[in-house]
Symmetry: C2
Subunit: 136 residues, 2 copies
Amino acid sequence: MARRGSLSATPAPSLRIGEVARRTGLPVKTIRFYCDEGLLQPKGRSAAGYRLFDEENLAELTIIRALRTMDVSIAELVRILEVRRAGVCNCSVLKGSMAAKVESINLRIVELAAMKDELSRLLDSWQDCGGAKVQD
Amino acid sequence: MARRGSLSATPAPSLRIGEVARRTGLPVKTIRFYCDEGLLQPKGRSAAGYRLFDEENLAELTIIRALRTMDVSIAELVRILEVRRAGVCNCSVLKGSMAAKVESINLRIVELAAMKDELSRLLDSWQDCGGAKVQD
DNA sequence: AAAAACTCTCCACCCAGTCGGTGCTTTCCA
DNA sequence: TGGAAAGCACCGACTGGGTGGAGAGTTTTT
């Protein structure tokens, strides 16, 4: 009832790249890069050729940012977002991706812990330097 | 008592790059790359020009591997290993590095957790798809 | 109108490796 | 002893995920 036709809600916000950058916290260059990679698709261009974005693009950037933080590759993100754009529900795809990444993150944490320990042992084995003392 | 002079113990193991790779689990190419970067310094070269490594190099690779896992840059590692090679005790330097890195890792974990949550919220907001339903 | 801020494209560069090619050296095995 | 196979060297190019700068056009502010 609320929304009838395309008259009332969100007519065409048309954010420019700088505004998107400001809102997402991502550098302008990075957003441009994402567009080049087909990851982000601006709704259009202004007469002068400026990229124009909308709220949906912002939502996509949220996903992108989150998954990139989790080291999902650009290529994989392209696939995920394509599915999403096709109107297909990709909850499960995304959930799968997330689960996999969370798993790999946990693995990485274990790895880091192991390396931390290894370093600690190494450090201990050098303790014979006394702690003070330095020169050759 | 055991070791008198340089006769008895470890005369000159002189490992070649392949053996080092086998022992450390690092690819040969990576070890070569580390040498090129001045990170790892083979004890010498064979007549034919083959890089020759010793146990000390293996120890260094352990440090390198551990710190690289923790995202310490090559440049920083060069500095750390230079100090170490100079015979100066660098326990404190290394400990500082480690502390800093552990800190940044913890930060990263927090960041990851936040992104995980953000994604979860996003996923939840898509639940309206019902969960089933997909095709084209 | 002038200046500042913003945007565009294009090209080069960063890091930490990784790959492939070509040619020499060493090792294995019949 | 000889020849294949494996190992090693060097070189240059490529990767991914951006980042930086130049030079030109556009929009906004003063």
